[in-house]
Subunit: 317 residues, 2 copies
């Protein structure tokens, strides 16, 4: 099992340092709730990737902390609001914001982090022209994420969802923020490229989500920081459950299913080849992402980006 590549870990450390350096945010409940989520851990993948892409073009990771922090804060805001919408009780192994406080606090904390993300990105040491493109990328990305979440909610109620529908939803809900991260990394380093960096992020982001869906079934609840097989309990469409259904397996679980019943259902899905199928789709995306990296200068950061792509579809949690 691969570990998080070292340069990612090092960048994540810089991000955590930057977060700690900005605390406390203020004396209100909304500040406390924002700190709760920002300091609850998380792998800091998106900011670390932004910094790695910029690093590939010779920009020191320390200089790209502001835009990196901006994408992490954006990610945090979406987590808080998604947890309210899905009424998810756990996040990163801690109580989700709306459970620990309440729904109004969670809405407001997400809203607060939303603008903080833009404010933070604007602290980047970059030309005004570059900053405009960064802002455009961040704003358009947030719109797409909302549309992805909207598709997720609507698909949950739909009679039929195709694999293409699902992949489009994943692209919007998860892919575009990875893509914005790596794309912004290319922008703030004045690399002159954008599309390939964006494409790399989009592909690994989709692969990441597909692998997350796999982990929901095969991972350990303690590692995940959330309920195991929550997708089956909630009847969510994923690449796994769609494949299972196409192959005659009902992938849903009743709310009172026992651990043994969960285990048996996961086994049934595995035997239908659905988990292997999803893993394969994720691997193909990762191969494409590694091809995108050809547009970046050779060196340690680029190697690390290739390693991250592999890591994302092989991690345990």
């Amino acid at each position: 099992m691969p570990n998080v590549p070292d340069p990612v870990r090092e960048n994540a450390r810089l991000v955590n340092e930057a977060i700690d350096g900005r605390l406390p945010l203020g004396g209100l409940r909304v500040h406390e709730a924002a700190e709760h989520l920002l300091t609850a851990g998380g792998k800091r993948l998106r900011p670390a990737l932004l910094m790695l892409v910029a690093d590939a073009f010779g920009r020191s990771p320390r200089d790209t902390v502001p835009p990196a922090l901006a994408v992490e804060i954006t990610h945090s805001f979406t987590l808080i609001h998604d947890d309210v919408m899905d009424d998810d009780p756990l996040r990163r192994g801690e109580e989700s914001v709306h459970k620990r406080w309440d729904v109004p606090t969670a809405i407001l904390t997400g809203d607060y982090l939303y603008s903080k993300a833009f404010e933070t990105a604007l602290k980047t040491d970059a030309t005004d022209a570059t900053m405009r493109r960064v802002m455009e990328t961040l704003a358009e990305t947030c719109t797409l994420i909302c549309e992805g979440q909207a598709l997720d909610v609507e698909y949950a109620e739909a009679d039929t969802v195709s694999e293409d529908d699902y992949l489009r939803m994943v692209e919007l809900k998860t892919g575009v923020l990875f893509a914005a991260s790596t794309g912004i990394g290319a922008l703030v380093s004045e690399s002159g490229i954008f599309d390939e960096a964006y494409g790399y992020g989009l592909r690994i982001g989709k692969a990441f989500q597909i692998h997350d869906d796999v982990l929901d079934l095969v991972g350990e609840s303690g590692d995940l920081g959330k309920t195991r097989a929550s997708d089956l309990f909630e009847g969510k469409n994923t690449l796994v459950t769609l494949h299972a259904r196409r192959n005659g397996v009902d992938p849903s679980l009743p709310h009172d299913a026992s651990d043994a019943e969960v285990e048996a259902k996961v086994e049934e899905i595995r035997e239908a080849g659905s988990i292997g199928y999803a893993r394969e789709r994720a691997e193909t995306l990762v191969d494409g992402a590694k091809d995108d990296l050809d547009a970046l200068p050779e060196g340690e950061p680029r190697d690390a980006l290739a390693e991250v792509a592999d890591y994302l579809v092989r991690r345990d949690y």
Copy 2:
């Protein structure tokens, strides 16, 4: 009773045209809900003010539609989320989004409009340097609005709230978006001034909210598009209720109060001088706002801005 000044009405028409020209937004529920609120009316004061300030510096209103629309969209997002937090059933005489659809849809629709506001502002025909300042103003403003709403929620639970606390909350919750509107108007017209335009907006914004609190008590429910005396039912602190309390009047109402009881309570508050007191405070703010306008070139737009300031504290709804 003064009417909305003509130049405001004309700018509001341009804003409505621009909104209509952008519909439909898409086929998802989140798009439908966003359209529901954006087309439900509203006076379009903030965008009209932005356009008037820019107009005072010679920038044609047609050219400043994008940033104007951006502040209106920002306003819309806050309304949708505030209605969820306050569980308000009505908005602009229509069902609020979370009532017509549900809470997840309302959260998501607000989030969608939030980034749309930034995207729309970025369509402004302005230099990159100006755009950076516009973005900074918009992002910082959204953060302050969230902190204002947070104060509003926390004050509702507090044992004592001072008049200064209340005024600070109003400044954040309402003042800063008016201020951002007029400030951005000064930025996009390359006027070279910012503080006075921002100050004018901040003062009339506060006056606007204080007058809204007055209208909650003295206005007609049909005109307001919401429940009359909702502040008394919810036990909200306002300049009126704080004054009443200081003068020995309990300004709260039980949830089952009859129309006659509402009427009697409002009369009691009026006799304590609380409504007159709030009106006077609003007038003083308006006088200060009109002084700020000295920094703008003389002419029809500046006269209209002075008229708006008066209108805001004399309107019926």
